[in-house]
Amino acid sequence: MAQTAGTARPPFPNYTQIPTRVPGWVWFALRAASIATALAVALLLVVNPERGRVLLWQVLVPSLPLVMLVVPGLWRNLCPMAALNQLPRMAGFTRGLAHTPQIREYSFVVGIALFFVLVSSRKWLFDGSGVASAALVLFGLGGAFLGGLVFKGKSGWCSSICPLLPVQRLYGQAPFAVLPNAHCKPCVGCTKNCYDFNPSIAYLADQYDDDRHYVGYRRVFAGALPGFIYAFYTVSTDESLPQIYAHFGLWCALSLALFQVLDVFLKLPRNRLTVVFGAAAIALYYWFVAPAMASGVEQLGGVSIPPAAPWALRTVVIGIALVWIVRCFRTERLFLEHVIQKTAQQGARVGENAAQAMRRASSRQQAEVVIQPDDQRIAASAGQSLLEVIEGCGGEIESGCRMGVCGADPIAVREGMENLSPAESDEKSTLERLGYAPNTRMACCAKVQQGRVAIALKPERRKLPEYPTSSQYDANIKDVVIIGNGIAGITAADYARRRHPVCAIHVVAEENHPLYNRMAITRLIYGRSAMQGLYLLPDKWYEEREVTCWLNTTASAVDPAAQAVTLATGDTLRYDRLILAMGSSSFVPEIEGHGGAGCFVVRSANDAMEIRRYAQATQARQAVIAGGGLLGLEAAYALTKLGVQVTVLDRNPWLLHRQLDEPAGQLLRRYLEGLGIAFQVSTEIRRVARSDDGHIYVRLSTGIEVPADVFIVAAGIAPNIALAQACGIATRRGVIVDDHMRTDVPNIYAAGDVAEFDGRIPGLWPVAAEQGEVAAVNALSGDRTYREPVAFTILKVVGADVASVGRVNPEGDGEEVIVHEDAAEYQYRKLVVDRSGRLAGAILIGHPTLMSGVTGAVKAQRDVTAELASLKVGDWSALQAT
């Protein structure tokens, strides 16, 4: 491909880049001689017209085209007209005017016209008259001088109306020897596409000009020239004046017509036909003029020229013309390759500050993630998770809990596993549950540490489905029934199978979907891929584990005495062990007027998809969401993406009341407001009213009334305990369980959102997963005591970067609280250290690089007594993931 011009000579050098072979004073002297010669020729034409005419018309003039073809610079520098034209400038008495638009437009046309008129007039005037020829020479010299007096640079003659200019421009486009312009010091920029400035590109620049008229004048000249030459040598001088000019006109017209037809049908690159016609014209010219030249030299020099000389000249000229054609074609190709890209539309650029910042950023990013199969190479900084890297480059990946529990983002590590942070327990158990090939990692947990890591966004299957089952199992257990297909139920099914290779396992699910990423359901509101990507288990997961799944099926009753579950379909499932994992529904408080069209909750995938459907069907413009918790905010963001103006209501003074403190909640609020979400906090809903046309208005305790096409309640969860209650299992808010997830009825366990342990129903995914595992282990005759995982939540709103882990407010005296806030930079971080010096909780906003280190340290309840001083002054590097 084309290379940019380096320090080597550019392909199209301008006159300062062409090496100077002849010193300036030599040119000066030669020009003086040239003027003297011209005057002498004029004198000779008057004194001795016979010799003068031979000298001018048979020797000097016929030599010029060849000079222009081979060394055009020689003529440009030596021409006596140019020398006189430049005299006023040198002497400092030129008026130096610029062209008017009219002159600029038509000066070249005048030059062409002068050429055709003067040359054709040779036939009846100049050729036969020494005086007329002398006058012509003087006209040229005088015109050039006058032009130099008035106009700047060479625009008074040489580059505008000089009749020789069209010839010189046509033939000078591919010089065999290039001489730099010796006139213009300095260049005053008098002409467009100046030949003297850049001889090798000037003609092509003319040909490729945007202005079709500008191009057209030049093409007309080239197209007419062969016909004109032919006419010159075929016209009879005996004819009358009109007939002479008619002869010229006819042949020029024929030549032009041929040019035009060929131009249309041959579809050649723009300059080829002009070159071919130019070459034809010059060959024709020397074909005819060669004998006259020979005789001219004979007459003047008094020598005898061999009769073969004209033939030799013709041959030489034809040869040169052919080579010239090739050179011109090549130049045009070079021009198209090198020049168009250089002059093509340039994009915008960035300045030096940006360059500096980019260099700095480049030096910071040492690691690299390669995403196959496209081999996109992303520069990553140490500590960035693969999920962040993939999301940042717009890669197709799902995300859920962002802590390795849900299993939404498995990827295959093809190279560089050793450059990733090792998998920790949550991630490991998720990987075990999913059962992909050993090179699988959860993207959210795998942090790039150094070097190069190559990944593929699709995890690989195991070659053989191997499934870790215990060889020791309780043979008395034959049937396990699990009610609920969420993460608690599926984890329970998974662990039941691990502990018992042969028992029947039935999972009964109210929903019509296999296990999906409930944490990402708000994406169903704004995303266009519906459930695609939301399912969390590989295709044959149930099959491979011999788990019978009853989707879209309601368990209507449990009979503890008969140890059987009755399904609403009429089927009955007998069980030895029953695990209740029915999860929860949305808690909807008593609100006057609530219900009917436009009122929603967001708990299941179907809820979310119904909101999307409704919002589209009704062209919803406004929405109100009651509840500024995680789900409420995520739903608010989702509706905003759908183009809906959202107002979030919260009874608390700040958002994420359970997970954040006030400053953090306010910072988050400002960010979300920046995304276009509106808030009403410290407020309660009085009632939901409807206008006559059915529009909803939410009336608040503050007196404000907010219109809503869509009204969503996201005010927490209500465990689904009806089934348990009906069969006499002890319940309060949830199904009461002990630390082995046992209910008060033998052989019945509960886990997840439906279970109430120690008076608490956290409603969090990691809790449900842990409880499901504990329930299954204990149900299958194991012994596992439940320990509640440290609460960890992440707000899944783009760019919010909010994480909360553990207990974020101090309890009692003697606890240390460390807070660093930089609201302008959207950063907030807080640590709660308990009395024993251990980390109890943390809030992070806008600190992605601290995320994994800090949450890990809090989960491990790390003792930070030694680092306390540096933590207080803001140096948290001790907590940074390594």
């Binding site: 491909m1 084309a2 940019t4 301008n14 006159y15 300062t16 880049q17 260049c187 005053v188 920029g189 596409n193 100046c194 400035f197 850049n198 590109i201 620049a205 490729y208 000009d209 945007d210 202005d211 079709r212 008229h213 390759e337 168009i340 890209q341 250089k342 002059t343 093509a344 539309q345 340039q346 994009g347 915008a348 650029r349 960035v350 300045g351 500050n353 940006a354 360059a355 910042a357 980019m358 260099r359 700095r360 950023a361 480049s362 690299e368 081999d375 996109q376 190479r377 992303i378 520069a379 940042g392 480059c393 717009g394 960010y671 979300l672 920046g674 995304l675 783009v798 760019g799 806008g846």
Partner: protein, 160 residues
């Protein structure tokens, strides 16, 4: 076509000052660091295709180093060079705004790096740092407007 770079009358010894507009010329280095913080940092290898004509993606790129070329195809399937892309250029801003398919294919002529800013990055930027986001959008709009002007000028040269 514009040949002014070959006829730099005022200063023949030098390439003419690039006429291309400078994106966020007034933004300080720290401001740029902030902006790049919202961007994705990518590396590319010689010969790699970074953008494919016809693809749809709402993002634009700042070339940190390396050279690329933008090529397009005629209806007859002939590939032709649209422009050479040097380091520190901005590319792709049209699709960033209109979301329409890419008009050209961009290939790397050398190894290099670039920063990618997509609609999501701008969304986050506008929430966190509205002034910066406003400057980014306004300046990109200015650049597109300049280009429109250039097209108008060119049209005038062609149709007069």
């Amino acid at each position: 076509m514009d040949f002014t770079s070959f006829f730099n009358y005022e200063n023949p010894d030098r390439e003419p000052e690039s006429a291309s507009p400078v994106f966020l010329a007034q933004l300080s280095e720290s401001g740029w660091s902030k902006l790049l913080g919202y961007a994705q940092h990518r590396r590319f290898a010689q010969g790699e295709t970074l953008l494919e004509a016809g693809e749809q993606s709402r993002d634009f790129y700042i070339v940190a180093n390396g050279r690329l070329e933008a090529v397009a195809r005629t209806e007859q399937g002939k590939e032709f060079l649209l422009s050479a892309i040097e380091e520190h250029s901005i590319i792709g801003e049209q699709s960033f705004f209109d979301g329409l398919p890419r008009s050209a294919t961009v290939r790397a002529l050398s190894d290099g790096e670039l920063f990618r800013i997509d609609a999501k990055a701008l969304e986050v930027m506008s929430a966190r740092d509205p002034a910066l986001a406003r400057d980014v959008v306004a300046d990109l709009a200015r650049i597109l407007s300049l280009r429109l002007r250039e097209m108008t000028q060119r049209l005038l040269r062609i149709v007069r």
